[in-house]
């Protein structure tokens, strides 16, 4: 059966009709193949305009509709709605823009009219090949998975849990808290990190809606928005969590000492250890690589001394599977290892510290009990703080780590405060970036405390003295770019503000979750401005520094954003899936898998049995990367099929009769004189 197409050309008052002969275009349209009626009207988007379409669908049995008016970005939905009300599937409609792209930008009346005819001919030609499509609804599993238990993950988990939804919080380490748990004070307010983060950590452990899984990792994710299946690996703690009381006796009795990761390698821990007495959960973990019992079957002290019989050397790794609807990734960041920057002597000179090491040095529960002292136990008389170590540096990270200026100022203040006002502090900076709330004020305060700021990136830190006062000191060699001269500054201690960088395993985690990394290596957000918490994969959101360097308030705000996105889906319980996705015809697909590699959304799977690629419509965004490549045309985007595009092209390049010079006077609503002829 031939199609029955109705074409409606809008005047838009004089917006279109002032430059385009809308009447003539409608008349031209009615001569086109399969067009049953061509009408023009003052305002197609008005109620009478829409009514005209609805009436024609019913009275004339139209099965395709074309509207030539403004941009479809403005009124496509309006007219699709009209079609639907007329009983026509909204995808059997095509809109073409003769206002923004034609009447408003073309000087000559005849030229504009001719262009409008081409555009209408293209739309008519295309609409012949439109097919009915339907939006699909999928249920959203109400539970939310949060990956990473740093401050961002904690915030996201608490927010979601508060809404009444169940949260599975997976943390790789033995306890939650992340980097923030390592800090002492926080800028610019100087409140103690533990005082503000510990209550949140405890809240996580006490929240009935949060299922906290520490010492665990996500190994596999499948499914799609609303319906993810997640595999979680639970590493053996060798301590029964249900029996352990957290008394800490095992740690006292353990003879094996190794460098502490939590203390950033500046002090030792035992093979059985926990980060701090405030750790959540408060249960230690036995480090299988160093435990004498587990490596050499010796010792066994912890088991002997444990008053509650919680030690269990026979524990093994377990795996569990969960169903969740949405996922919030809060996997945080790593600190750049400054060892490769040989000029700074990290690892070679004992008094060169990273920022995180200094945090521990300064922390009341750290190795020195919060005393800022050198390895010899003496307080430093002078300290150099080097900004942008590995940040804003083409050889390492081009980006700014956003936090270093501020924590450097914090160190400035704390040193002055704790060691004494006589301590000389030199900041070597490129630019001071104090952009947050209260940050600039804090900068001013620290300046007033008598801290020196030298604009320049030091070229070297050396112990080779050139003058008596440099003897026994570390000399920071730099250019002072404000004074334009080379300087040598002898100090007792150097702190390197090392860059925040993506976690070492970001690529692997991105693969597991089917998301992308940006140029900087951090997880890529959906849009840099308007979608900073969502990812290209529906139902997977980002929280905190895994998306890019952030300070605590930004990480917390970002995490609440991620939680809100996850909750929005969970609360509605349904997700509507657009039908304009790709479809791969299994009869044509030869299984070359090229489309799988080109898909930015991991939305194509390979069916090994049939040897063909298959679109997961819930993950497909309909971008056409697959269809644009597929040589056999097996992959096609619904509503943008090859047949549709070729026919649009055909109509566009079709010869059209030239526009008549004089404007014809005619009734806006044209009698349908071609209906019978075409039927």
């Amino acid at each position: 059966m031939a199609n029955r197409i109705g074409v409606y050309v809008c005047h838009c008052g004089t917006n279109i009709a002032g430059k385009v002969d809308s009447v003539g275009v409608a008349k031209f349209a009615s001569t086109l193949k399969n067009v049953v009626v061509g009408r023009d009207y003052k305002f197609m988007c008005s109620d009478p305009g829409q009514e005209m379409i609805i009436r024609d669908i019913k009275d004339l049995g139209l099965n395709r509709v074309v509207v030539a008016s403004c941009s479809p970005r403005l009124h496509e939905k309006t007219f699709q709605g009209a079609c639907q009300r007329g009983g026509l599937n909204p995808f059997l409609f095509q809109m073409t823009c003769i206002r923004e792209h034609c009447s408003w930008v073309t000087k000559d009346f005849d030229e504009a009219t001719e262009k409008a005819k081409h555009l209408v001919a293209a739309a008519v030609s295309r609409v012949n090949y439109h097919a009915k499509l339907y939006h699909r609804e999928e249920n959203v599993h109400p539970d939310v998975l949060v990956v990473g238990g740093g401050i961002a993950g904690i915030q996201a988990s608490l927010d979601v849990a508060k809404s009444g939804h169940r949260v599975h919080l997976v943390e790789r380490d033995a306890s939650i808290g992340g980097h923030m748990a390592q800090f002492d004070k926080t800028f610019p307010t100087l409140d103690c990190a533990a005082c503000i983060s510990t209550p949140k950590m405890v809240a996580v452990s006490q929240e009935p809606n949060i299922n906290l899984m520490t010492y665990s990792e996500v190994t596999e994710v499948s499914g799609f928005v609303g319906n993810y299946q997640v595999k979680i690996k639970r590493k053996p703690r060798y301590i029964d969590e249900t029996k352990c009381t957290g008394c800490g006796l095992c740690m006292e009795k353990c003879p094996k000492k190794v460098l502490s990761e939590f203390e950033e390698g500046i002090s030792m821990r035992r093979a059985v250890h926990r980060n701090s007495p405030q750790a959540v959960p408060n249960i230690p973990v036995i480090d299988a690589a160093n435990c004498l019992k587990l490596t050499k079957d010796k010792c066994g002290n912890c088991e002997k001394f444990c008053p509650s019989g919680a030690i269990d050397y026979t524990q093994t790794e377990t795996e569990l599977e969960l169903d969740v609807g949405t996922i919030v990734l809060a996997t945080g960041y790593d600190i750049l290892d400054p060892t490769p920057l040989k000029q700074y002597g990290f690892g070679r000179y004992p008094e060169v510290y990273t920022g995180l090491q200094f945090e521990r040095l300064n922390n009341a529960v750290g190795p020195t009990g919060g005393k800022i002292v050198m390895k010899n136990g003496q307080p430093p008389e002078s300290v150099a703080i080097i900004h942008c170590v590995g940040s804003r540096d083409k050889n390492y990270h081009e980006y700014c780590s956003r936090t270093c200026c501020m924590y450097a100022l914090k160190y400035d203040h704390l040193i002055k405060d704790k060691v004494g006002h006589h301590v000389k502090i030199f900041n070597f900076y490129i630019d001071m970036r104090c952009f947050g709330k209260g940050y600039e004020e804090f900068y001013r305060r620290v300046q007033e405390e008598g801290v020196s700021f030298i604009r320049g990136r030091p070229g070297e830190i050396t112990d080779q003295a050139q003058t008596p006062e440099e003897e026994g000191k570390l000399i920071v060699v730099s250019e002072d770019t404000l004074l334009g001269r080379r300087i040598r500054v002898p100090v007792d201690m150097v702190i390197l503000c090392t860059a925040m960088e993506p976690r070492k395993d970001t690529a692997e985690v991105a693969r597991i979750f089917g998301i992308s990394q940006g140029m900087d290596g951090f997880f890529l957000e959906e849009h840099p401005k308007l979608g900073p918490v969502s990812t290209a994969t529906d139902g997977i959101f980002l929280a905190g520094a895994c998306q890019g360097p952030k300070d605590i308030p930004d990480a917390v705000a970002h995490a609440s954003g991620g939680a809100a996105q996850a909750m929005a889906l969970a609360a509605r319980g349904k997700v509507s899936i657009s039908p304009t996705t790709s479809w791969i015809n299994p009869d044509i697909c030869i299984g070359c898998k090229m489309c799988i590699g080109l898909c930015a959304y991991s939305a194509i799977e390979f069916d090994e049995r049939r040897g063909v690629s298959v679109i997961n419509e819930a993950m497909c965004k309909g971008c056409g990367s697959c269809a644009g490549h597929c040589p056999s045309g097996a992959a096609q985007i619904k509503h943008f099929t090859e047949k549709q595009i070729f026919n649009e092209l055909d109509g566009l390049l079709m010869a059209v009769p030239p526009a008549p010079r004089a404007k014809e006077e005619e009734e806006p609503v044209k009698a349908e004189d071609t209906a019978e002829a075409a039927a």
Binding site: E100, H101, L119, A600, A627, G628, H629, L649, D650
Partner: protein, 140 residues
């Protein structure tokens, strides 16, 4: 002899260049009427076949335009488009089809001005280049 007026087909992405074209219209930035738009969701959707077909069917040039690198609504569709255009240019140039007849540009959603300039510049460029052979020839 009548002055040659080129016919140009443009495949533009919905999110950037199509929006820029809307913006150019709203701002009444006058353009030559020679460029006719086909709205695609992404430049990564533009099959090289479409370009070949357009040129054989008598389009004097084909414009493909989408989001700037890094701004692609679909993350990286525009990079794929760039490789496909490169491929087409390499193939077609040997048959005397000037690379200027297969044009790829980045025009962001807010760049109405750039869109109008792209259109007008391209029309002038193709006017100078003259009609494509397929206008008169029967090549299918």
């Amino acid at each position: 002899m009548e002055e040659f007026e080129p016919t140009i087909v443009a495949f533009v992405c919905n999110w950037c260049t199509y929006t820029a074209a809307d913006l150019a219209g709203t701002a009444r930035m006058t353009q030559f009427p020679n460029v006719r738009l086909i709205r695609m969701m992404c430049t990564g959707m533009v099959d090289p076949k479409y370009v070949i077909k357009a040129l054989l069917a008598g389009a004097d040039a084909v414009l493909i335009s989408g989001c700037h690198p890094g701004d692609c609504h679909y993350i990286n569709g525009n990079y794929k488009a760039r490789r496909r255009v490169k491929l087409l240019q390499e193939i077609l140039t040997g048959f005397g089809i000037d690379t200027r007849r297969v044009k790829l540009t980045w025009v962001g959603a807010s760049e109405g001005n750039e869109f109008a300039e792209t259109v007008n510049h391209l029309v002038n460029e193709i006017r100078e280049l003259g009609p494509i052979e397929t206008r008169e020839l029967m090549v299918v």
